[in-house]
Symmetry: D2
Subunit: 138 residues, 4 copies
């Protein structure tokens, strides 16, 4: 699996006093779309593999904004796996309203074992997860 398309509608609470979606909401829209991708690929962001609890803290996020999105508009979100590292995944996102580009972004998260003291420890992506993921073609 290398891509997923999903959609969501802009809610009132997503907007700010400029009358448009607050930019912080887009990174949440991207995160949720990424979670849908992961789930469609057969694993959650909060998984137990063997006896290890696996989590995926984000290490970097970037986002470019092309045009505003407004209350009630339907956002079409395209998620693609851009890079599959030994310990990390980078997803790319494009958000449109119809044919109008709204924003695009990237997010990298690292596969970590969540130990009992809660401190995340980077580990190699378990084979049973990695084998379900393909990098999207350019």
């Amino acid at each position: 699996m290398h891509e997923l398309k999903t959609r969501r509608r802009v809610e009132f609470a997503d907007t700010d006093m400029a009358g448009m979606v607050h930019f912080s909401r887009f990174v949440i829209f991207m995160e949720t779309a990424e979670h849908e991708f992961r789930e469609a690929a057969g694993f959650s962001v909060d998984t137990v593999v063997g006896r290890r609890r696996i989590g995926w803290p984000r290490v970097s996020v970037s986002c470019d904004f092309a045009s505003p999105a407004r209350f009630g508009e339907v956002l079409e979100i395209h998620v693609r796996l851009l890079r599959k590292g030994a310990k990390s995944l980078t997803f790319g996102f494009d958000i449109h309203v119809g044919t109008r580009e709204v924003c695009s972004g990237k997010m990298t998260s690292v596969c970590c074992e969540i130990t009992t003291d809660g401190q995340p420890q980077a580990i190699a992506i378990p084979g049973e997860i990695a084998e379900r993921l393909d990098v999207a073609p350019e």
Copy 2:
């Protein structure tokens, strides 16, 4: 003016089920710190200059996460003006808890006139705003 230091405390609602501040909150912390910088420099994000209403939509945001921040911790936020373009400003941000680095980021916003139909139109930064801003030394 080229930099500002501020601080804020992590609230319960800033956290997620991983027990740490959700990454989307950091871009809001950065935005609010940038607004404090602007205000200390003598202008708001929502200003009227002459008869023109000026706003500053964001065009790009990026953020790297070094370590988690937790409920109750005090975040020290350092804002610096990295670039002063003809129509845009780029601010840089470093967030620490004590000496521990939590995250760093950049945000670029464009000076726009907000016309009555609400569509932002990029304009040159008014002189009375630009003259109050200096790029931070490296």
Copy 3:
């Protein structure tokens, strides 16, 4: 029209460090469900009737929490119109995950004309809106 059923899935960013949906998110879920009801009844929260721009600021909200909801769970949200006043509407909400009750609440909003200076002024609900709304049977 007097009721609507909708559903939404708990997102990662809806949770807090207690591992459950933060209670502030439920009032947003209720608001969004109310907006779906309004739209299904043929009017938006942000309408123009004649030449008047109509908005619906909230005057009261209450919520009781019966059990936690967690990441990935599907919330079933039942919206009912509890009261139709001359100038206000009160909606009731019940949220379940399967047969488990999660929370219930009420929200009252007042029909207001939004004048050019932005100050909301309470007005009688326009007939063309009121006629589409029935109070739900007990």
Copy 4:
């Protein structure tokens, strides 16, 4: 201890397209003010007493809105302990901007032991916490 006064400034991300603070933000402002009260009284919402991990899930919230609050305004928040039950606490909140009333509310939370499976179990408020709390005079 029976009351606390605190303040916070309205941030851009607190606002919605109606140009005012979104009502869901007020319950977060109340929660954070309640946490400041608890801390000033010498205990956190996330405490260990003896070997027991104590949490305080909310069971009810209500809020009435008197007037809008806007970007940059300073909210003065008055927290009072309204009721001290065997297992629960009810706090009351009044929020003003200067002399203008913005909103008032109540929130009840129940003292719970958070067991290893994460399910909250209501318990009597530990004596060392209860003894620090007094109900506010009418």
